[in-house]
Symmetry: C2
Subunit: 130 residues, 2 copies
């Protein structure tokens, strides 16, 4: 029973599933419509499985209309993921080099704590252990 965020990232960790989401941005589509671009490389049950993963992650909602299951995009779960990523925006940029240098002056070099008489400094708190 993984947490929501893990489930979201896990669902995104597949190119087929990302392609399905990209397709759904253009509007709702049935299962076979979604499957059509992949049928050369994959069978329909395969696509159904991917859809189930997306459904479990809450990214896709399946309705019923006669024998069709119109699928719609639900991007709400992506919000948490996007917020998580935002925390790292600063570290993504080209300023990474200078930032890295700066951090080296702030963080004591690894191993110092065991080489000196100073007590082992416990690692700083972290906030993402869900």
């Amino acid at each position: 029973m993984p947490d929501t965020l893990s489930q979201t990232f896990s669902a995104l960790a597949d190119p087929t599933r990302r392609a399905i989401l990209a397709r759904l941005r253009l509007g709702e589509a049935s299962v076979s419509q979604l499957a059509e671009p992949f049928l050369g490389q994959m069978t329909l049950p395969g696509v159904t499985k991917h859809l189930k993963v997306l459904e479990r992650a809450g990214l896709v909602t399946k309705g019923r209309e006669a024998q069709w299951r119109p699928c719609t995009l639900n991007a709400a779960p992506l919000k948490d993921a996007a917020e998580w990523m935002d925390e790292y925006r600063v570290f993504m940029e080209a300023s990474l080099d200078r930032l890295g240098e700066y951090l080296k002056t702030v963080t004591p070099p690894v191993g110092e704590s065991t080489r000196t008489d100073a007590p082992t400094t416990p690692p700083p708190p972290y906030d993402d252990h869900r």
Copy 2:
């Protein structure tokens, strides 16, 4: 051999690994420093494995300093992931409801194509099938 984006998302799909990244935002740390918060629930080799996943994804760089392996955050691979997410920003917001209604007026209802004489409309192109 999964694509880069899949590898990135896959690496993020684990709370332990996300916690490690969060810790590394504060500065470099050795393997045992990174492992310390988890040693109640996981062994050291377990953490080493998680680090290897992060390393393969290019999110963590391991150096050498005597018997220590100082780990540093490398957020560059997150850039692609963030860009991917940005495409969905519009769909995450509360305006989803109205947007959904709007899309329904644009996209023909599922099944219409087989009920009428119109040729089966092929699904629109998609751009994320990497």
